[in-house]
Subunit: 221 residues, 2 copies
Amino acid sequence: MTGVPHRAKLKALDPVWRKEDRAEHIYRVAAEIMCRKGYEATSMNDIGDAVGLTKAGVYHYIRGKEYLLFEIMSYAMDMVDLDVVGPAREVADAEQRLRLILERHARRILEVGGAVTVLLDEMWALKPTHRRIIQSRKRAYFDLIRGTLQRLAAEGKLRDVSPTVATFGLLGILNWISRWYRRDGKVTPQTALRDLVSLGMNSVLRDGVKAPRRLPVVPAR
Amino acid sequence: MTGVPHRAKLKALDPVWRKEDRAEHIYRVAAEIMCRKGYEATSMNDIGDAVGLTKAGVYHYIRGKEYLLFEIMSYAMDMVDLDVVGPAREVADAEQRLRLILERHARRILEVGGAVTVLLDEMWALKPTHRRIIQSRKRAYFDLIRGTLQRLAAEGKLRDVSPTVATFGLLGILNWISRWYRRDGKVTPQTALRDLVSLGMNSVLRDGVKAPRRLPVVPAR
C-alpha cells in the first residue's frame, strides 16, 4: 500500500486523529469532497480545510492532487482485496463465492460510504503509469467475478447469459449503490443489503438451482 | 425543449450539419468531451474545436457551460420521455411494461452511446433552479419504474424485495452500461441487449411467473 509512509507521518500529528487511521480519514474526506465538487474543481485547499491542515500542511503530507487521487483509488482497491477478493478465494463453491462477493461488496459501500467508489471512475485524471496499475487491479476483480460465473455456467447453474455481460450487470447493481444510498434515508442498510444480494443472485442464477433465500451471516470485517 | 431557438439558428450554419440535428450533434460531442475530461476541465474552446466553431461562434450559439450542461441533461431526459416513458405508459400489463422500459433504456445507451447518461450524474454543477428541474424529471422516471414494480408486487409477481431497492438495482444495471460498453468491443449490441434485459427481468420477477424468455421485437425509434 503506497500510503504507508504518509500514514506514519500523520500518526504524530494530532491526538484526535489517533482514533481513526489518518490516511483513511484523509482519503475518505478528500474522496467525499471530490465526489461532490468533481475532481477537477477540488483544490488542495478544500481538502486541507476539511481535514484541518494548512495549505503548507497539506503539501507536507500529500504529494499532489493526482497522487492523492491515485492513493485514494489504491486504498479502495486494497479494501476490495482485503474485504472481498481474499475471503472469496477461500470459498470453493462458486455459488457461495458469488454470494460472498455480492454481500461483502455491497456491505462495504452501505457501511463505509461510496465516495471512493465514485472516484474509481475518474481514470482520465490519472497519469498513465498510475492508470495502468489501477486498471489492472480492477481487471483482476472483474476476472474473479467472471471466473465465478463461468464456473456456474459449467455447473449448469448460470442463466443463458454471457458471463461478461452478467459480470457488468452485477457490478452495475453494486457500484450504483453509492449513487443513491443515503444512510439517513428510508431504506435501512439491512434491507438494502438483503435485497441487493437477492437481486444480484437471482439475476444470474437459473430458477430452481438456488439455495434457500435467507443469507448466511457473513461477519463484517 | 429549451434548445429549440439555438437549434433554429444552427440550422443555417453549415450544410454538412443538415444531415444531423445540430443541437443533438453539439450536445453529444460536448457530452463526450465532458465525460472524458470531466465537466470542470472542459472549456468552451474544447467544445468549439470539436464541433468546428470559433470561440466567438460557441458563445454566439451557446449561452455558457452551465447552460450547456443543463441543455444536455434536458435533451437526455427528453429522449427518456420520448423513447421510454411515453411508450411505457401505453402498456397496461406491468410485466410487459417493465420489459419495454428495460429494453428501450438499454437499447438507447447501446445504440447512441452513454456519455449523456454519465453527465446526468453531474448534478452538483447545475445552478439550483436547473438542478430542481432535472431532479424532478429523474424522479418521474424513477416513479414510473417503481410504480410498475409495485403493481407487479400486487399481482404476486415481484420477488420478496423492496420496490425501491429493486428500482435502484435496475437503474444500476442500465446506467452502468455507459461505463463499460464499447461499440468496438467483443460483446455485440444484440447480445448485450438480450442479456441485460434478461438480467433485469430475472432479478425482480419471481421464478415461474415469467413469460417466455424470447423478447418481443420492440422497434427502435
